[in-house]
């Protein structure tokens, strides 16, 4: 069902986004990126930056700016198109880094990095996860002080677009408390191993830090902020963008499925007239609409920094995680054999949906968080 909740400005943003995608990177072109070692084109990245893909969460004085005064809501409009058209690149982590630097960075960090992130000239990604993929609040990356330097030892895993990133915002631990460090990937001792990724339009890396020496001012905000609160906020941003992106992909995939069932004929009838398939699709629409309702609410609450944002975000993530995979599986089921071919776009959507939800929406983990948030 069409969503008519957009403002006029958001409608313009949406139109400019889909026009750009249709012109520069439609599905046929996305398919070809599978064998590209970087996974996207840097000129294309600068084009997406001009549309505001990486600048909405950055303050205006650093080259950022949103559309309606509700930056997260505006950005969710873009995220929907990113998912719907399987756009590659560092969309989610680059926005998280932009937001973190803009809110918590030192004057130097903001000045040096933010205008270049907003313009797409510099690729930045966020590295919050341990090598095994767990959310370890930085435990797997030790940061120690050595006079006016810091030394990084350990690893970060499942870092999206790490192989092409110029800078990382890595989560580590200093004196037993979490910190975030701005690290150039060209620093001596940083090793990025590119992993094979289920999502053919994404490059995921594992990063090893082998006595990486950096000036102490490379700690985010000079190490003075409340990192736990920062991580919470950054996580919330990543989750709502991941959910919005997933909804775009799911919605597109589901529409494809409904249309296909109207045209494919078997036993003398369009297969979409069989009650077994109609009921399955009605159920999937219910789940999809549930996901949309939850994500719209979560987006609004994160944008407003509502006091219950952590709870709403985790409920939304858990729900989307469960139903996105179910809906995707059912779409494949309705397509039958034709959906099992490499040439069909269906598997590209399934790969994107599963990868995004695994990265940010893992149900078991969010339920555990909720057990703490809502403990009676």
């Amino acid at each position: 069902m069409e969503d008519r909740d957009l403002t006029d400005e958001q409608r313009l943003l949406h139109q400019a986004t889909v026009d750009f995608i249709a012109d520069k990177l439609p599905m046929a072109a996305v398919r070809k990126l599978r064998d590209d070692p970087v996974g996207y084109d840097r000129n294309w990245l600068c084009g997406t930056a001009q549309l505001g893909w990486y600048s909405m969460l950055i303050a205006e004085e650093h080259g950022g700016g949103d559309v309606t005064g509700h930056p997260i809501v505006d950005l969710a409009v873009v995220a929907d198109s990113v998912g719907r058209h399987l756009q590659p690149g560092p969309f989610i982590p680059m926005n998280v880094v932009g937001a973190a630097l803009s809110e918590y960075g030192t004057a130097t960090q903001r000045k040096e990095l933010l205008p270049r992130i907003a313009a797409g000239e510099l690729v930045a990604t966020w590295a919050p996860l341990a090598g095994d993929g767990s959310w370890d609040a930085g435990a797997g990356l030790s940061v120690t002080r050595d006079e006016d330097e810091i030394v990084l030892r350990g690893s970060r895993g499942f870092v999206v677009e790490a192989p092409s990133a110029d800078h990382l915002l890595a989560v580590g631990t200093l004196d037993g408390v979490p910190v975030q460090v701005v690290v150039a990937t060209s620093s001596v001792g940083v090793d990025v191993e590119t992993l094979a990724c289920f999502d053919l339009s994404r490059r995921v890396g594992r990063i090893t830090f082998d006595d990486v020496r950096l000036p102490a001012p490379d700690l985010l905000g000079d190490g003075s902020g409340e990192t736990t609160e920062q991580l919470e906020r950054q996580l919330q941003i990543a989750v709502v963008l991941a959910c919005a992106e997933t909804i775009g992909a799911l919605d597109e995939m589901f529409s494809m499925t409904v249309e296909y069932s109207k045209t494919r004929v078997a036993f003398g009838r369009p297969i979409g007239s069989f009650q077994a398939l109609k009921h399955a699709m009605a159920d999937q629409l219910l789940h999809l609409e549930g996901c949309k309702a939850a994500v719209a609410e979560a987006t609004r609450i994160v944008d407003e920094r509502g006091s219950d944002a952590a709870e709403i975000v985790s409920m939304t993530a858990a729900y989307v995680d469960e139903y996105a995979s179910r809906i995707a599986q059912q779409c494949l089921q309705v397509h039958g054999g034709i959906g099992f071919t490499w040439e069909h776009d269906l598997h590209l959507y399934m790969r994107r949906i599963r990868t995004t939800t695994s990265l940010w929406c893992e149900r078991a983990w969010h339920y555990e968080r909720l057990c703490e948030v809502c403990a009676p």
Partner: protein, 422 residues
């Protein structure tokens, strides 16, 4: 005075009135779930309803010529928000909800000018409570397949048949009744709606004992009830059109609480499951505790998504931004959530839900939900009917071949019997 100032004033007057006249709602009794009502309580409830009506808070958007206030939807929304913490009188429980949210809009949309002027004020003031006479022992989800007949006799109609599952009909004054007025045409084309006086000598209303032992629903035996043309609602033989508008009201409007979700409302909503987990000895056994906690947050999550979905679709329906059939998504959401949650509750409670000391009769409520959680999966059009509506009207999927749409109704049952014996 600007519209906003007027609305603010309206709200503050309302607050004062509510605080002075209505009791606060207690958290553990959901609105409208008063089973097994006594006649005296109903009579008293009617007087309370009259007070609310006379204060101007019932029929807020109903035109003044029909006894309403003729105000805007914004005024009505203020009432919904402000009154949600109070016991708003529903003298006959579910029958009162049906009267206000289903029968009233159906009459306003389909009634004649005279019917609206005569009937609507009596509904608003609580003097007349209506019940729906829709389902029958042999027809429910296939509503157009009902067997009750209204036969023309001179300038009157003679109504004969049996109706079933009418909520609160023992306390109601009238029934809005669907009957077949022409069996010689296909099923959708020979139906007509009537207003049936339930206190008539030729009407017998009997409570039906349900599987959980309670008696909320009734059956009605209509034994040659004589009705005049002035009781016909909508056009003769064009009853299916009216049915569609009535069912839409029933699906969309009946069950949605539009108050915003808060941490507190979510805590209250999951409190029953938390209590069950406590009673199941949760603190003593770690694995069980963990499983129960996860189950509670899962149900909390799904209850919240369900509410959020309903608010979103209801808002879209109100603005006309979606196909009216999208109301079936709300109904299907209720019809799937209830049973799932009931089973989660049973799992959390463990064996405590199947046997309990006789001194604690309330422990049986949970096992009861095992039945009752399915109520909305069946009532008001089963989940399967909602899935048909969603797939055909919202998604635009092709209809299945029909075995009864194109033949006279009198041949339908005969042919179906042949199918079984073949």
């Amino acid at each position: 005075m600007s519209e906003q100032i007027q609305l603010d004033e309206y709200r503050s007057e309302m607050r004062k009135w509510l605080a002075a006249h209505l009791p606060r709602r207690s958290a553990d009794v959901p609105p409208g779930e008063q089973h097994d009502l006594e006649a005296e309580a109903v009579a008293e409830g009617r007087l309370h309803q009259r007070e609310v009506y006379e204060a101007g808070y019932l029929g807020i958007t109903v035109p003044t010529e029909y006894g309403g206030q003729g105000l805007s939807g914004a005024h009505e929304r203020i009432w919904l928000a402000e009154s949600s913490g109070y016991e708003v009188p529903l003298p006959a429980g579910v029958a009162s909800i049906v009267t206000m949210r289903v029968v009233l809009p159906t009459i306003l949309h389909n009634g004649t000018e005279q019917q609206k002027r005569e009937w609507v004020p009596l509904i608003l003031s609580g003097e007349n409570i209506w019940a729906q006479l829709l389902s029958e022992p042999d027809a429910g989800s296939d509503l157009a397949g009902i067997r009750t007949q209204a036969r023309r006799d001179g300038d009157t109609w003679i109504l004969k048949g049996t109706k079933l599952w009418s909520s609160g009909a023992v306390h109601a004054d009238y029934g809005i009744c669907l009957a077949r007025t022409d069996p010689g045409v296909p099923k959708h084309r020979g139906l007509t709606w009537f207003r049936v006086p339930l206190k008539d000598d030729r009407v017998t209303v009997r409570p039906v004992r349900q599987l959980n032992g309670s008696e909320e629903f009734c059956e009605e035996f209509l034994d040659d009830v004589v009705l005049g043309d002035d009781t016909v609602i909508g056009a003769v033989n064009d009853g299916w059109k009216v049915a569609n508008s009535l069912l839409m009201f029933e699906r969309g409007a009946g069950h949605v609480d539009l108050a915003p979700s808060t941490v507190q409302s979510r805590d209250e909503q999951s409190a029953d499951l938390v209590a069950l987990a406590g009673a199941a000895g949760m603190p003593d056994r770690d694995n069980r505790r963990r499983a129960n906690m996860t189950s509670i947050v899962e149900q909390r999550t799904k209850d919240w998504v369900h509410e959020t979905l309903n608010r979103r679709i209801t808002a879209k329906l109100m603005r006309g931004a979606v196909h009216p059939a999208a109301a079936s998504l709300v109904k299907l959401s209720i019809g799937t959530r209830g049973p799932e949650r009931a089973i989660a509750g049973l799992e959390i409670a463990g064996r405590g839900a199947i046997a309990w000391p006789t001194s604690e009769p309330s422990s049986g409520d949970l096992a009861d939900q095992y039945f009752y959680g399915r109520q909305y999966a069946i009532a008001g059009g089963s989940n399967e009917i909602q899935r048909n509506i969603i797939s055909e009207r919202v998604l635009g999927l092709p209809r299945e071949p029909s075995y009864d749409n194109d033949k006279p109704f009198k041949d339908v049952i005969r042919d179906a019997r042949k199918w079984i014996s073949d």
